[in-house]
């Protein structure tokens, strides 16, 4: 695959393993990384021999969010909207016909957590901290969090996590419903889920995804 040195993409059978690999920036998502992730989603959409993606991070944690150093003040809003429409990673994840799995460790903050919430299944190692700090920055969650979080964890938890706007332990009672299970370590969880997904042909994985999830998209 083209592109970023900050994202590693490997293929194992019907599964695309995608690793955020910019540990010196706590895997903060740059525009270049967003575009590489979008390329991976496009590959999943086009290559029918692929049926799933496992997303994880290198280094101390999953992802610290968007790279704030690339944020501009006083942008031309109509242009921002157009560029979002043209490079809509979050819409591509929400509408993907592949099964998306996130394995989190360390921290999943802001857009990092939102990437995981756009996946179908989420796992985390013990002591992973999750949070949506955007409201302390004069913004709101920008990567689908206000749409995905209430669907995953309910309206009350969605308002709570957005409103406290600080990282919390994923095992805390308020947020443990965000994950489908706890795992011992990232590497073995990625391999275990790759193996589970590879027990089924790609077409079956896609059929499963369509049956259980895609009605939500345009229902």
């Amino acid at each position: 695959m083209s592109g970023s040195t900050s994202i590693d993409i490997a293929r194992s059978g019907a599964v695309l393993q995608v690793r955020l690999n910019r540990p010196e920036k706590r895997n903060a998502i740059s525009l270049e990384m967003r575009d590489t992730l979008l390329d991976a989603l496009e590959l999943l959409a086009l290559d029918e021999t692929l049926g799933a993606m496992v997303l994880y991070g290198a280094g101390a944690g999953f992802c610290a969010g968007a790279d704030l150093s690339e944020f501009t003040s006083h942008p031309i809003i109509s242009r921002t909207k157009e560029s979002r429409r043209l490079r809509d990673l979050f819409g591509a994840m929400a509408s993907s016909s592949a099964i998306l799995v996130a394995v989190m460790h360390g921290f999943a903050i802001g857009s990092g957590l939102e990437l995981a919430l756009l996946c179908d299944l989420r796992f985390a190692t013990a002591a992973t901290r999750v949070g949506l700090p955007e409201l302390t920055l004069g913004m709101m969650p920008p990567a689908g969090g206000t749409a995905t979080l209430p669907r995953v964890a309910g309206l009350g938890t969605a308002v709570w996590l957005t409103g406290v706007a600080r990282p919390v332990d994923v095992q805390d009672v308020q947020v443990r419903r965000l994950v489908n299970g706890m795992v011992d370590d990232v590497g073995s969880a990625v391999e275990a889920w790759t193996a589970i997904l590879n027990r089924h042909p790609a077409a079956m994985l896609r059929q499963l995804k369509r049956s259980v999830r895609l009605h939500e998209l345009s229902a």
Partner: protein, 247 residues
């Protein structure tokens, strides 16, 4: 305005309403209903950032008196659901019937360990209103909501926080301090961002996921025109606390 069944305190950004009919378990009669609807007006109009509702006595609210006809007075839970700011309810003891409807119409439900929730309206005269039927499944999930409404079982504080109905629980006697911590936390956030995030969470949950993602993005683009966003980013770069103005 002088109220008989509630107490009201107004601060620049916070409206506080206390249900004050503890001898009747804060059950709603016609007077209390019309007083609460009148008192909610500044919050419904968006003139405060935070609305806090709590209650005197051991119970938050046990429901309403049998003869209460809500259609004549409007529905307080429906008014609460229209508030654009953040709504906190602080629940001790029983929270049932109309009390439960007020609670689910709010955004953050805080409780002490005596808090418990139930609706037994199916066994009485009224089917719960649309507020409960719409919100409860979206707060605790469809299966739990149907079970709770059909059985009228009492849901204690522990089960309520595990289900996502309560946002936080403290030992009895610490509810006031907990409530004030949340008010303080919310007042530090960018006020417009808080409103838009709430609008996106609640409004977006009535849409397809695809539309909800677009709705969130559009609200984000609106926020990009605010001074507070610029201040927030500048404060983060300068590693200091932001000073938001709500514009």
């Amino acid at each position: 305005m002088l109220f008989r069944r509630i107490r009201v305190a107004t601060e620049p950004r916070v409206l506080r309403i206390t249900l004050a009919r503890p001898q009747a378990g804060n059950a709603f009669d016609e007077i209390m209903t019309s007083e609460l609807i009148a008192a909610l007006e500044p919050a419904v109009a968006g003139r405060v950032d935070v609305l806090v509702i709590d209650a005197d006595g051991p119970d938050f609210c046990i429901g309403s008196e049998d003869q209460l006809q809500l259609s004549f007075h409007g529905h307080p839970a429906k008014q609460i659901a229209r508030v654009p700011g953040l709504v906190i309810v602080a629940v001790a003891g029983r929270c049932s019937g109309l009390g439960l409807e007020l609670a689910v119409a709010a955004d953050l439900r805080l409780g002490d360990e005596t808090a418990h929730f139930f609706t037994d309206q199916l066994h009485g005269r009224n089917i719960p209103s649309g507020v409960l039927m719409w919100r409860l499944p979206r707060i605790v999930g469809q299966a739990r909501a149907i079970q709770w409404i059909l059985t009228g079982e009492k849901v204690g504080a522990r089960a309520a926080i595990e289900a996502g109905l309560l946002a936080d629980v403290v030992p009895a006697g610490e509810l006031v301090a907990l409530r004030e911590r949340y008010v303080e936390t919310l007042l530090k956030l960018a006020p417009l961002a808080l409103r838009y995030a709430k609008e996106s969470i609640i409004g977006g949950s009535q849409m397809s996921l695809e539309r909800a993602l677009d709705f969130e993005a559009n609200l984000n683009f609106l926020l990009q025109s605010t001074d507070d966003r610029e201040e927030g980013l500048r404060a983060a770069r300068e590693r200091r606390s932001p000073r938001f103005k709500g514009q």
